[in-house]
């Protein structure tokens, strides 16, 4: 699946998007955050306060307990500050 990162999540990870292939056991957004956190220093830093991280599956907001299922795109970002 495609992973997208925005704002300081993007800066900490060092890329805006990538293809990821999480292992079988990764079922929810929270599982994916846990797995990504182990992918390197930048990821660990991006997700260190994972409660503050927002997620979207296929361009719709979801909570961390949401199942990833067959989503094609997941995005991680800080709380929004538009307007």
């Amino acid at each position: 699946m495609k992973a997208l990162y925005f704002a300081w999540v993007r800066e900490r990870i060092g890329k805006a998007e990538e293809e990821i292939t999480p292992p079988q056991g990764v079922k929810t957004v929270a599982d994916l955050i846990g797995w990504l956190s182990g992918q390197g220093e930048g990821y660990a830093l991006a997700f260190e306060n994972n409660k503050t991280i927002r997620a979207a599956l296929d361009r719709a907001h979801v909570k961390h307990d949401a199942a990833i299922e067959n989503a094609r795109e997941i995005a991680f970002f800080p709380p929004m500050t538009g307007g």
């Binding site: 997208l4 704002a7 993007r10 979207a56 995005a75 800080p78 929004m80 500050t81 538009g82 307007g83």
Partner: protein, 158 residues
């Protein structure tokens, strides 16, 4: 059964600036049934002279879709004849507009309330992030989400 209002709806996410008068006219032109138009324009402020510019990042695709969802919710809540939302991204200088909300209706209450609702929800739901660039050498940084904005959105849930 009452005739449902045909709601003119415009949602745009763009780098370029916008013309509030032209956007307003696009909602009202040729109509004689309207009684109220409310426009809200959010501006880039200089934060007491220290801000050189704002850099607004967005999630292309989701930004338009999420604004669209908020607009649909506003249309469910109030009988609106027209809604326009324009949100900019990219580098924006103090004094320039960032966001435009226009609501048109038969009476003023729904236009005022819907415009306020739209702004409260855009701030907390639409995927945009502001980074400050300061006039001094210091780098600025990402603007943090405000509790006051969450509270403002929360009040509509009552």
């Amino acid at each position: 059964m009452a005739e449902t209002l045909a709601t003119r709806t415009v949602v745009r996410v763009q780098a370029e600036t916008f013309d509030t008068a032209a956007e307003t006219l696009a909602l009202t032109e040729g109509r004689t049934d309207l009684g109220a138009v409310v426009t809200f324009t959010g501006l880039c402020r200089d934060e007491g002279g220290v801000l050189a510019s704002l850099e607004i990042e967005h999630y292309p695709g989701m930004a338009e879709e999420e604004i669209g969802r908020v607009v649909e919710e506003a249309k469910q809540r109030w009988p609106l004849a027209g809604v326009t939302v324009v949100h900019r991204f990219g580098l924006i200088k103090p004094g320039e507009p960032i966001v435009l909300v226009v609501t048109a209706s038969l009476h003023r209450t729904e236009a005022f309330e819907a415009a306020s609702f739209l702004m409260d929800f855009l701030k907390t739901k639409a995927p945009f992030w502001k980074k400050q660039h300061l006039s001094e050498a210091s780098s600025g940084g990402w603007v943090g989400a405000k509790q006051a904005d969450d509270a403002a959105a929360e009040r509509w849930k009552a």
